[in-house]
């Protein structure tokens, strides 16, 4: 397993301001997530919440590197991909609250963050499907010769899907501009990875598809940054896909209704010591990017942004019941054909 720091790399291509911006996004993701867990327990919104605490680096960092026109294919735990890409926090909150102001207008689910303005594909719950859709996006870019890249996310559990295989296989054949990010957080809901695959490093799977695979410490922001950057550049240059396995850990249950009793407490505690945020903070302090004063400013700003987003969500109206009938077809057509007034019905006998 590679560790970027061992190779002496140090994010030199990011200026101090951008490094602080990345720290800001990571902290925003962490604190927003913790806040949403609290609000769920207060029954401030319905459904459930899929916390990504502990594994923020794996989503925030690659998407932070993506351009606006690049596509992100998240699934349920990728709230961090929205923060990384720069989706306004108020819309993330509105999504969780299922308000009319949410990008999905309250239709899908609190965890299905999508945002067409920034090319974040609205996800679904059939795992790994977004890797197939992402492959379709990447094919469009290749055909049109556009220098755009797709970042498609799954957990290690998602790599067991046939659709994940179909996506990787085709992307490999056509050298499509896509990066497959596999967040190995050890647990596919309640099933340990030892029961879902016979390999240790999921990057080994890339061999079967003829493109590079790499396994890295997903809680090392610098390693995630460097390897994501390489993979994105490789894709953008037309050299094809990369599979990056990022080894990480979710601190809490599959969702807020899962007490995660299937895990050993010791395992959780061990991983909490590998928390990506303090590690990155130490790195930034060492390089003179962050100090107590700047950190306090960032924390204050994060807090204000979260409060404003929650206020926006809570003050946003709920959708009207009959809005459930909209957005099925273009122009709000329905499954019943509506004949335009000018259209005349006349017999059309078979012509031959």
């Amino acid at each position: 397993m590679l560790n970027a720091k061992q190779k002496g790399e140090d994010m030199m291509d990011l200026n101090k301001e951008d490094q602080r911006r990345l720290f800001y996004r990571l902290l925003l993701c962490r604190n927003f997530d913790e806040k949403m867990r609290t609000l769920f327990r207060q029954a401030r919104y319905a459904g459930t919440f899929f916390s990504c605490v502990g594994q923020e680096a794996t989503t925030v960092v690659p998407t932070f590197l993506a351009r606006k026109e690049d596509v992100v294919g998240p699934q349920h735990r990728e709230i961090g991909a929205c923060f990384g890409k720069g989706m306004p926090t108020k819309y993330i909150a509105a999504q969780i609250y299922a308000r009319k102001t949410s990008p999905d207008k309250g239709k899908s689910h609190p965890c299905h963050f999508g945002y067409p303005e920034l090319n974040i594909i609205t996800p679904a719950s059939t795992v790994a499907a977004q890797t197939v859709i992402g492959t379709g996006c990447a094919l469009a870019f290749k055909i049109r010769k556009e220098p755009r890249v797709v970042l498609a996310f799954t957990g290690e559990g998602g790599t067991s899907q046939g659709s994940w295989h179909e996506a990787c296989n085709f992307a490999g054949v056509h050298k499509l501009p896509i990066v497959f990010v596999c967040q190995n957080n050890l647990w596919a809901e309640s099933v340990h990875y030892k029961f879902t695959s016979a390999i240790i490093d999921y990057s080994d799977r890339a061999k079967a598809y003829g493109f590079p695979g790499i396994s890295i410490d997903g809680n090392d922001v610098v390693a995630v940054y460097e390897e994501s950057k390489k993979a994105i550049e490789r894709a953008r240059k037309g050299e094809g896909p990369t599979l990056i396995e990022m080894k990480t850990y979710r601190w809490y249950g599959h969702s807020e209704v899962d007490p995660a009793n299937y895990r050993m407490k010791e395992e959780v505690e061990e991983w909490k010591k590998k928390d990506p945020l303090p590690r990155f903070e130490a790195f930034l302090r060492k390089n003179g990017v962050l100090d107590d004063k700047i950190k306090a400013e960032i924390e204050k700003e994060v807090e204000e942004e979260i409060e404003a987003a929650i206020k926006f969500a809570e003050e946003s109206p709920l959708p009207a019941p009959e809005e459930a009938l909209t957005d099925v077809y273009a122009g709000n057509q329905t499954m019943i054909y509506e004949r335009p007034k000018a259209e005349k019905v006349k017999p059309e006998p078979i012509r031959t």
């Binding site: 596509v71 949410s102 990008p103 999905d104 207008k105 309250g106 239709k107 899908s108 299905h112 999508g114 945002y115 067409p116 594909i121 609205t122 679904a124 059939t126 499907a129 197939v132 859709i133 992402g134 492959t135 379709g136 996006c137 990447a138 094919l139 469009a140 870019f141 055909i143 049109r144 046939g162 659709s163 179909e166 996506a167 296989n169 085709f170 054949v173 909209t326 957005d327 099925v328 077809y329 273009a330 122009g331 057509q333 329905t334 499954m335 019943i336 054909y337 509506e338 004949r339 259209e343 019905v345 006349k346 017999p347 059309e348 006998p349 078979i350 012509r351 031959t352």
Partner: protein, 327 residues
């Protein structure tokens, strides 16, 4: 005008649209150099090249998903599913993603994919190369389902599908490919998605059919004419969106309805049409609505006697019409 087979009309329509709009491209199993197992993409690879006519691995879910992703990025994909029987492998991408994309994004994304698939029985192809499974998709909001019976409609519906914003599944009955011909106009035309076609006007019974059943229906209506029964044949070439109005207007005229389809009876689309009529035009009915369908067994048994027994045909339709008229 040129006399053109059903399959050639579809190939011509595809080529014309690909010349008109360079965002249209096509992909699937054996559709490239080979030109499709039925010749349903013949010549396209040679004209448009490997960027726009792409042979895929044997991965139906991928084929549908390539459609979803590329359509979201502004392409006009034609996703080819070699046999409708194999579409089961693509159901996740079709029903959960393609069909729901607009809805789940609150109208943020469009997904105008055209799925072409060949379907239908009667050619001794057995359990896995004969199905027409339209009911799976008619039950899926967000999809449009079209099933032409003529070469003219096949070309026109295909063109219409490539000029609108929703996913469409085009069923192409394999028995029609080379046995049906039309005079196809030289000029560009579309057949709008939605309106049914009245193929034959009649006074006594309304007969609703689509795909290859249209031929059997016309044959049956000629048989009935000799018996003094005038049958109105409605070609339901678009299943969804449902042309309720044409259906109800015809019932108002005839008072009797028979619906025939190749799919098995239970949960078939004929049941939905019957329910619409029962709910909205009950007072006009002079007899119960009857269906002529395949029996409720897996479609379609291979051995010739069993296949013939399985499939609706003109005689079976005529028999049910007699029953309806005698009620």
């Amino acid at each position: 005008m040129a006399v053109t087979t059903f399959i050639q009309a579809i190939v011509d329509g595809t080529a014309e649209e690909m010349r008109r709009d360079e965002s249209i491209f096509l992909f699937g199993e054996d559709v490239g150099v080979h030109g499709g197992v039925w010749g349903e993409t013949r010549g396209l690879f040679h004209e448009f090249g490997s960027d726009r006519v792409i042979d895929t691995p044997i991965s139906e879910n991928l084929i549908a998903g390539l459609g979803v992703g590329s359509a979201m990025m502004g392409m006009r994909p034609i996703a080819m599913i070699q046999f409708a029987d194999f579409i089961s492998l693509a159901m996740d991408q079709i029903t959960q993603h393609m069909a729901k994309m607009r809805y789940r994004s609150g109208g943020g994304w469009s997904c105008p994919v055209l799925i072409r698939t060949n379907s239908g029985g009667g050619v001794q192809a057995g359990l896995y190369h004969s199905q027409e499974n339209t009911a799976w998709f008619c039950h899926t909001p967000g999809l449009k389902v079209v099933y032409p019976s003529t070469a003219y409609d096949a070309k026109g519906l295909l063109k219409a599908a490539l000029r609108q914003e929703d996913p469409v599944i085009l069923f192409e009955h394999k028995a029609l490919y080379r046995s049906v011909k039309d005079d196809i106009p030289e000029n560009d035309y579309i057949v709008p998605i939605g309106p049914a076609a009245i193929r034959r006007e009649g006074e006594d019974v309304t007969l609703v059919v689509w795909g290859n059943m249209v031929r059997s229906a016309l044959e049956a209506s000629e048989m009935m004419e000799k018996e003094g029964v005038s049958v109105e044949v409605i070609d339901f070439r678009t299943l969804v969106p449902i042309d309720k109005e044409t259906l109800i207007n015809s019932l108002k005229k005839t008072g009797r309805v028979v619906i025939a389809h190749e799919e098995n009876r239970t949960g078939g689309f004929g049941g939905e049409l019957a329910a619409i009529l029962a709910e909205e035009a009950f007072d006009y009915l002079d007899a119960p609505i009857h269906r002529v369908c395949a029996p409720d067994v897996p479609p379609i048994p291979f051995s010739i006697p069993m296949e013939k027994f399985h499939m609706p045909n003109a005689e079976k339709i005529a028999k049910v019409i007699r029953k309806t008229v005698e009620y």
